[in-house]
């Protein structure tokens, strides 16, 4: 019996689950190849490690892009399919969002399409033959790729059943869960696929940057890329976590290599100090979060995030947070938020961020600033939806949680922007700017929680539509943020290789010696402020629009909107200070001429042009973000 169970598990994993996680597998395989090449044959002397790394990252990007397109194309993502045989009548119920079905082979007597469900009924004849025919019909519909895939699997299940039992007359049912994998540990949906594609794209750009700046030298290359890939796999797991174990493991898998990468510049006093501070605070925050997860799991009796959502809803449906259990659950949720807030460098858990960024090389700082924030926001959205997903009626207590997050967002934005003024080191300035941007994105999450928790209590309020808008804003912002922040850090790294300095004063007059790099910096910085016609403008606009809508439920979101608007204006000045140094101040006497290679300028253009394009033509990406976020609320 045990061996049967094991066989079934292995079959399920290899046949259906693994193929959805090819990007992660590709990255893992690249790590193995990198280490083998170094350990066994020292081939990395002749083939630089970045070639292998770049190839692996491109494969991962290709697969994740392909999967995302496939998911978007096959809009009929199945949530479950059920076959019922009643007497002479066989019907196949497929829950999906398919609106139209083309009949290819006329095997079915009746096709009914209800919202969210297709029912195909076949009467008469042999049960197995009918079901086979129905499935041929589903297979024949070429437009629905996922439907086809699941249909084939269902067919296999049915045929296996029919060989032994000849289909019992009084109803059999086979239920397939198509989007939860590995026993519910991971979930494969459009949201996860989108964030994963973003991470893979970032990885490719990041490796290209390290090739140009040469920060891991030939000797350290394999080690550095191994750490980088390990952290990225962790982030991808965070984006598709469906279980509190993966939730924690993903965060740790992303953090532990990050600690090492921050301290990667060996023998540098600042680097070792930054890594030490990061690891001490990071480990502490992870410990607190794990304790919170243990309380949450124990109280609710489950660790699967969808079930946590249901149980939490049941617990809070009575008297809110008045019972002892509910208060303990609130404490546990708070502890989990502490861990996430640390990853997102939110006030008051931000203090590691400027130190780690200043001590690390600019490339690693860019990685921490973009990739780890993106993954942590994906996880935060999943957790927030789990928090509010199970409640039936409007809950003011949970809306209070959303408002509290909004207060933290306001503090984070204001603090980040104010502290950035006095900085003389560009990486420190960008670190505070990262903190401020985490605050803007957190505002979208705050609006999401408020809408989900209390939206149904306001008459005429479109809960699903407005929640969609929040996630759409967040995803679009992340997309633009990837380019604009990576662009800023890339220019810092490229200029550092020439001037050996990261002080803002060392940028004086540099704009006329390397116009391409500095223009790209200007584009990225104006986009970070949120000026039109750059991509950052639309990102901020969509988030502000969702705040405005959420303000109909709770007035605080309008206050938040005002704070965010004021901060956008403040932030202009410290970004402009850098540009002023670059273009207006005179170059210091006797300073060495900055002479960059054309390839570096091209790289900077490659990053800056999408920022401009996203500002001029945001439609395709907002459409993509909207489709992805709509799938989250179905």
């Amino acid at each position: 019996m045990f061996s049967n169970l094991l066989e079934q598990l292995i079959a399920e994993t290899t046949l259906t689950s693994l193929c959805h996680f090819v990007p992660e597998l590709a990255l893992s395989a690249t790590i193995v190849v990198l280490l083998l090449l170094r350990l066994c044959w020292s081939i990395d002397r002749w083939i630089p490690a970045y070639v292998t790394a770049l190839a692996g990252a491109l494969v991962a990007l290709g697969f994740s892009g392909f999967q995302l397109l496939n998911l978007l194309d096959g809009r009929g993502e199945l949530s479950s399919a059920r076959v019922e045989v009643n007497g002479g009548e066989t019907s196949l119920r497929v829950a999906s969002d398919v609106q139209t079905v083309r009949i290819v082979s006329g095997a079915s007597d009746e096709v009914a399409i209800n919202p969210g469900e297709i029912i195909v009924t076949v009467s008469g004849g042999d049960g197995a033959a009918s079901v086979g025919a129905v499935l041929t019909f589903l297979n024949g519909d070429a437009a629905q790729k996922t439907l086809k895939e699941s249909g084939q699997r269902l067919c296999a299940v049915m045929l296996a059943g029919s060989a032994e039992t000849k289909l019992p007359k009084d109803g059999i049912s086979a239920t397939l869960e198509s989007h939860q994998h590995f026993g519910g540990l991971l979930v494969f949906d459009q949201f996860g696929a989108f964030v994963r594609g973003l991470l893979a794209l970032f990885l490719v750009l990041m490796i290209a940057l390290t090739v140009l700046t040469g920060i891991p030298d030939a000797e350290d290359g394999p080690d550095f890329y191994t750490l980088l890939f390990g952290a990225t796999i962790g982030m991808m797991l965070m984006a598709s976590a469906n279980h509190l174990l993966i939730f924690f493991l993903g965060i740790e898998m992303a953090s532990v290599p990050s600690y090492v990468m921050v301290g990667f510049l060996k023998g540098r006093r600042e680097s070792s100090e930054a890594a030490f501070k990061y690891v001490v605070y990071g480990a502490g925050a992870a410990g607190v979060m794990l304790y919170g997860i243990s309380l949450l799991c124990g109280l609710l009796g489950t660790a699967s995030i969808p079930e946590v959502s249901v149980q939490l809803g049941a617990m809070l449906s009575g008297d809110g947070f008045s019972t002892a259990e509910a208060r303990t659950a609130l404490l546990a949720v708070l502890m989990v938020f502490v861990g996430l807030a640390f990853k997102l460098s939110l006030v008051p858990f931000h203090f590691w961020c400027p130190d780690a960024f200043e001590g690390a090389s600019a490339e690693v700082a860019g990685f921490l600033s973009v990739a780890s924030k993106g993954a942590a926001f994906a996880l935060l959205v999943r957790f927030s939806l789990a928090l509010t997903g199970g409640i039936e009626v409007a809950s003011d207590t949970l809306a209070g949680v959303g408002v509290a997050i909004g207060v933290i967002a306001a503090l984070t934005v204001t603090f980040g922007n104010l502290a950035a003024y006095g900085q003389s080191n560009i990486k420190r300035l960008l670190a505070y700017s990262t903190i401020a941007h985490a605050g803007y994105m957190l505002m979208a999450v705050s609006a999401l929680i408020v809408i989900q928790a209390a939206g149904s209590g306001v008459a005429g309020f479109d809960v699903a539509g407005n929640s969609e808008r929040c996630v759409e804003g967040l995803l679009f912002y992340l997309f633009v943020y990837l380019f604009m922040n990576l662009g800023a850090f890339a220019v810092v790294a490229l200029i550092r290789n020439e001037t050996f300095s990261e002080d803002i004063d060392s940028y004086n007059g540099i704009g006329w010696e390397c116009p391409v790099l500095c223009s790209c910096m200007a584009i990225c910085m104006f986009s970070l402020v949120g000026l039109p016609p750059f991509g950052g403008f639309w990102g901020k606009l969509v988030i502000f629009a969702s705040l405005f809508q959420a303000g109909h439920i709770h007035w605080f979101l309008w206050v938040l909107l005002v704070i965010a608007g004021l901060n956008t204006v403040f932030s202009l000045f410290y970004y402009v200070r850098v540009l002023k140094a670059m273009f207006i101040r005179p170059r210091a006497e006797g300073a060495r001429r900055v002479d960059i290679l054309p390839s570096m300028g091209n790289y900077a253009l490659l990053i800056a042009i999408p920022v401009l394009l996203l500002g001029l033509l945001p439609n395709s990406v907002t459409e993509l973000a909207r489709t992805v976020s709509r799938a989250l609320f179905e």
Binding site: G263, S272, E273, K277, G287, S294, L295, G298, G301, D355
Partner: protein
């Protein structure tokens, strides 16, 4: 033999957690802080195992505890390596001595 009630086990976990947090916040020695983290992780582990034995969590709790043990080992390895690197550059592992980066 009388059954130990769930609450007693949870108390042990909670005391470990509080000891760990106090250790993390008061110790100035970097290794001491990391030992505090270990206490916190083990406090959580006791909770997981206790909930798995008495509650509805089932085997999930024990599996999570196993994963956390492995992860704590990995994290300790990385943290000690970074602490050594810090010591090489500063000749101390006092967290307060790391004050080059500020502002």
């Amino acid at each position: 033999m009388t059954e130990i009630p769930l609450n007693s086990v949870l108390w042990v976990g909670a005391i470990l957690f509080v000891c760990g947090v106090i250790c993390m916040t008061t110790k100035r020695n970097g290794i001491g802080v990391l030992m505090g983290v270990e206490l916190v992780l083990n406090g959580a582990n006791i909770n997981f195992v206790a909930f798995s034995r008495y509650g509805k969590l089932g085997l999930d709790g024990q599996v999570i505890a196993l994963f956390v043990i492995v992860l704590a080992a990995a994290e300790a390895a990385v943290a000690i390596a970074i602490a050594l690197n810090f010591y090489n550059n500063h000749l101390t592992i006092d967290v307060d001595q790391g004050d080059t980066l500020r502002g």
